[in-house]
Symmetry: C2
Subunit: 316 residues, 2 copies
């Protein structure tokens, strides 16, 4: 079983509007509400791949009930610990005329220590027989900033490797827990490195490698940087690799989560780095071509897998 | 008892954002979710005035549960008939830097005929001993466009006068049910008149009176037009009056609903037209000065009541 922890899931509400009036009243053409958040996307991708997955998380209030009811129909094993506060929403406004998307992301419910203790107990129980743990997304208010480091250490004491995909302090302090893999994107890596790595296209590889090495110095076993169309760069104790898919047009939202699913599956199955990265980059590309986060078409995945170029990178 | 029917209530979600990026990711500074919709605002205003009020409506799904839980804490008698589909949301983005508000208003759940029949039964039962009925807001999908006309006729057969505040076909077809009062704003009156009455400031009174007379010809007993800072213009079988409050800076959202509450209370108490209009205009002004729809400060109401100028208007 691969355990995916989603501490701050969301109800993702999407409004499609023909031409948005940002100073007036809009009647959306279509309204969609889906269970969302990075952890849910990772778990859905693993479930769609046929992997044995268990989604753990926190949910509460009417918005939490909406998330639960949407997950029930997915057929995926899910255990969400109840909290008193209302689960967060995200609102995406898609301006179908101009092709813009505005996203409004709520901070999440305040989780109290007793509620979090119940989650930690469920998480610890789930680790028996588990092959990998994925910790994905932001921490809700009320949790300590080093919560991921503690969860990674609990997994390590059960012999289970962890993949961490988060940002800011949660990433910096989480790395100290010694996760097997952290998966920042360029924006997240820039934020923890304190310098913007996104200006050059393609990105300045030596600067990215230096920032990734800093994260390894902080405790991460390996750092896999997702770089949108430039694919994945892995900095590991066994060497460095660059996995680059054939460029696809599409929506990058969720591509990073699909790549995390690929890394988790590769870790659980004991694949080597080139194999893991090929799957992860292909899943990212297939997810980018799909209309909704956590989804992909099998044909897109097969085509992307065949097109991914994995090259070993020499230390400069 | 004043019965207020809210067939299409909403969960009103408001995000305050310092400076909105309409093509990117935004983290709201504050998030507020309140039970909303025009009928709820009218009922809340009546409840705050100390009137005996019963809110009837339809609600379903997790969003309906969120609306119910927020209404429970209000202390107001509420009976919402359960529906299978999810109650709608509205989403307001307040750009605190630029002072803009963008509103995204979902169409509402599809209500099936059996569900609506249960509402009509509850409504009919509530009419016993009732002094006035307020029918406020849009009709959810699935209801016939003449639903308000039928509800008004049911009230009339129980001897209960009705106030209708809606727009478009629901207003035009509803007027045929012979409501005692309809309360369009200038935009709604323009839409049913087929010509824009909002260009002139102050509005062209004779054009507004002609459009109001057309609505009376369609069946409305009296037409009270809300004209924002220009107050209320009443066209009735006893004459015409203009009630004008002292201008207040503030948010006009909910001012029309507060005016409807004032008209309903005046109707229930048997006040004459000048008295009803003074209260309605004062409530509208006090609501415009308040931060949230359905709220007002008693001191603002007293000051506004003293400042309202009610004048009889001669037929031209």
């Amino acid at each position: 079983v691969i355990v995916v922890a989603a501490l701050n899931p969301a109800l993702d509400v999407t409004h499609h509007v023909a031409s948005v009036d940002w100073t007036g009243v809009n009647r959306p053409e279509s309204v969609r509400a889906a269970a969302g958040g990075k952890g849910l996307n990772v778990a859905r991708t693993l479930h769609a791949l046929g992997a044995d997955v268990l989604l753990l998380g926190l949910a509460g209030g009417p918005t939490g009930a909406a998330v639960r009811s949407r997950l029930e129909t997915s057929g995926m094993p899910v255990v969400l610990s109840e909290i008193a506060a209302d689960t967060r929403r995200t609102f995406a406004v898609v301006d179908t005329g101009r092709g813009h998307v505005a996203l409004f992301s709520e901070p999440g419910p305040v989780v109290d220590p007793d509620e979090y203790s119940r989650f930690v107990a469920a998480y610890s129980d789930a680790l028996t027989g588990c092959t990998a743990v994925v910790l994905s997304g932001s921490l809700p208010p009320g949790l300590p900033s080093d919560a991921y480091a503690v969860l990674i250490r609990i997994a390590a004491s059960a012999g289970v490797p962890a993949i961490l995909d988060t940002s800011g302090d949660a990433l910096l302090l989480g790395a100290a827990g010694r996760p097997g893999i952290v998966k920042p994107n360029l924006a997240e890596l820039s934020a923890v490195a304190g310098r913007d790595l996104r200006w050059a296209a393609p990105p300045d590889r030596s600067a990215v490698v230096r920032a990734a090495a800093d994260l390894r110095d902080r405790g991460a076993g390996a750092v896999v940087v997702s770089m949108s169309a430039d694919g994945l760069l892995a900095v590991t104790d066994q060497g460095m690799w660059h996995a680059r898919p054939r460029p696809v047009a599409g929506n990058p939202t969720g591509a990073g989560d699909a790549a995390v699913a690929g890394l988790a599956r590769g870790l659980a199955l004991g694949h080597d780095w080139p194999g893991r990265l090929r799957d992860a980059a292909a899943l990212g590309a297939a997810a980018a071509a799909a209309p909704a986060a956590g989804e992909f078409r099998p044909a897109d995945l097969e085509a992307a897998r065949a097109s991914v170029l994995v090259t070993e990178v020499e230390h400069s």
